[in-house]
Subunit: 418 residues, 2 copies
């Protein structure tokens, strides 16, 4: 059968109570979009068999493919499998192979298998069980009466590999379309102004589509083409991208399909054979954390200093007490001395620093309003500072996020210019 | 009117395509749970007026309160407000006060107001406009024909303050119930084993309820009581907590309502008047980032070192080259020298270190499998190391998260024992 559209149904009272942020629906949404399978509706229901049953039947009226997440665990409130089987009119059968795998899992962690885990080996008749590398609940893939119904475990660490390895390849066979997408990144022009210029393309072009998304300090235009092949989709997208480039928006484009900025920084450092150190005050280690998210960062990122207190700035980085006294810790002078100190102490080619007021309350010692941030960049040739102004009504998390992001961007700008 | 149940409807094609993770539904779910307002169903629809209209009408058949998020922006695909007005049979009227606020917003950022922003000043007749401190889209609060319909902007930074300040207080007046919840934290006993012991309470107690959630390295039991007052709810919860304490699960309880561990660490350090430094290798600054998430952390957290390379471990922390040579960077010996070095260099009472293999590929220099992590703790009295073993099939993010979490927990254990 061919799949044209899908619905995602997440099961779990913890999702309704807001105890868990639902990331599965975004993960699955991205994958289905890549396959050109349209998702018009997703929903969440609690661990309640009656309401789940109504939601399953409702979804199957509209969708070729129904993906359910959650409710596959061993406890009495895990009832997705039984409810799906009953809604489809399928009996449950025990799968001895799965049972022995579950027993093996418990043996491997040195525990006896609790009796109620055995029910995880029951699957609807005719279904395919999908292996779970990281837990005991197998997934389920059912093709029945012109529908495909897929059941996946709720924990993302279990869902991601199971979906990628056992579900995506099967769905790929069942879809004859592919969505090709590209992002145009724009700085220095707001969403409304862009729309005034590109209104006709945004409003009237159905395939490919052109849609704006406002982000912190940039606007993204997403170009998406639904095609029969990658080649056809790429061609449709390039034509649209050319139209945007040739419009008055064109000169504000700064990147096409930008990756995570920390990945760009590590790649550019490696490309140029340079090493980096950081000195972080208000960001407290966040820049280092993001850079080391990237496997292999060690080739370019030597390390750094978290200098939250004035004493740490003096003792670890050699910031002069006079500078702190005269200009305060939140100043271009301190930012520059921090960057220079980090670079010299770690013997790197380049160093970046951040110092600022993240709030919630301004520090009387600095006299600077919340949201004031100074970045420092230091190389053997030059050391300079850049100010970032963030509205003071923004909260601490936001200010620290923007400061971190801007520091990574300044490093990238520096690397692109040398 | 009194509100008993609610539905949340999030609008945005970007949510269906998985470009944005939907955190609004969890934020609103938590708030409604506190008010004892039941949410049985939430859903997401794209920027399509017909499907949105069907979803609105469907939701109003079941729910007293409908909260919509997203689609309040200035562009043509922002159509939530118009679709709601039409579904409720209300005409749109221009609010001159909002119009002048939007004009004022653009004046304050030094830009002319684009013409299409004016439509943000249109609201359904009889509705209350809710001020937006951080953007141009006002929220909308409508009481109409026995229903309450609330429209909130999609960006969480705009939604949170608007909901907290303008919506929560109004809903509180309209609900006569309150949900009181507590978490029982359990280590050393699995979810299935706990259920075997507490099956009767979990299955048969309707109010208060008792429900298990498995987390990394712990199980949480959530006790929730729906009551007419806080006092009544607290009493119902304590009775249930006593029953769990007196069961065989009791001896595995390690905390009640544990807060974020970094918050506990900062509070305990302040309480004892002690200072902390960190030395991070595979976590790359993540521990420092989490500690400095807490406002006022500077009183207890002096700072630290990100020593990703062997050179940084030697030069910044004084780890001996012989130790690295003999035991490798991923060893108890290196972890202890890192912690001691950080403590001495920052002059703190206490220091913690992390060194480990986060993957994806093992480092041939250390010869240790992915997932091997050593923590170091150093005070003037003692320096020791703790090993953390994480299954190697876990990914880099997971390993770094667990390493960070366990380091914070070791600091807390140390502080609790001295």
């Amino acid at each position: 059968m061919k799949i044209k559209n899908a619905e995602i149904l997440c099961v779990g009272t913890e999702l309704l109570l807001g105890e868990v942020i639902n990331t599965n629906v975004a993960y699955l949404g991205r994958a289905l979009a890549r396959l050109g399978i349209s998702v018009y509706h997703t929903s969440v229901v609690g661990d309640n068999s009656d309401r789940l049953s109504i939601a399953i039947k409702g979804a199957l009226e509209h969708a070729d493919l129904l993906i359910l997440t959650g409710g596959l665990g061993p406890t009495y409130d895990d009832l997705t499998k039984e409810t799906v089987a009953s809604a489809l009119g399928l009996p449950m059968v025990r799968d001895e192979k799965i049972l022995s795998e579950i027993e093996g899992y418990f043996t491997s962690i040195g525990l006896p298998m609790p009796e109620n885990n055995a029910k995880q080996a029951d699957i609807p008749e005719g279904a395919i069980a999908l292996p779970n590398k990281l837990g005991t609940a197998p997934g389920i893939f059912i093709e029945h009466n012109g529908h495909v119904v897929v059941l996946l475990p709720g924990p993302p660490a279990e869902l991601h590999p199971m979906f990628d390895e056992s579900v995506f390849p099967r769905l790929r066979e069942m879809s004859d379309k592919i969505l090709v997408s590209h992002n145009i990144h724009i700085m220095g022009m707001g969403e409304s102004a862009i729309e005034e210029v590109l209104f006709d393309l945004m409003k009237n072009s159905q395939n490919p589509t052109l849609a704006p998304y406002a982000k912190e300090s940039e606007v993204r235009l997403r170009v998406s083409a639904l095609a029969r092949s990658e080649e056809e989709g790429e061609k449709m997208c390039s034509e649209m991208i050319e139209k945007v480039k040739n419009s008055p928006v064109g000169k504000h484009i700064y990147a096409l399909d930008a990756e995570r900025i920390e990945k760009l920084v590590v790649a550019k450092l490696k490309e140029k054979g340079l090493t980096l150190a950081v000195a972080e005050s208000c960001t407290g280690g966040y820049i280092g954390k993001l850079l080391t998210d990237i496997p292999g960062a060690s080739a370019a990122f030597a390390g750094g200093f978290i200098t939250y207190s004035n004493e740490a700035k003096i003792n670890l980085l050699g910031v002069s007490p006079e500078t702190l006294q005269k200009h305060s810790a939140v100043s271009p002078e301190t930012a520059m001395e921090m960057a220079r100190g980090a670079r010299e102490r770690l013997g790197t080619d380049l160093a970046a620093s951040v110092t600022g007021e993240a709030g919630p309350n301004p520090d009387p010692q600095t006299g600077k309003p919340v949201g004031t941030v100074f970045l420092g960049i230091s190389s053997a040739q030059e050391t300079y500072s850049v100010q970032v102004k963030i509205p003071p009504q923004r909260n601490r998390d936001y200010i620290r996020n923007v400061a971190t992001n801007r520091a990574l961007r300044e490093i990238l700008i520096f690397l692109n210019e040398i």
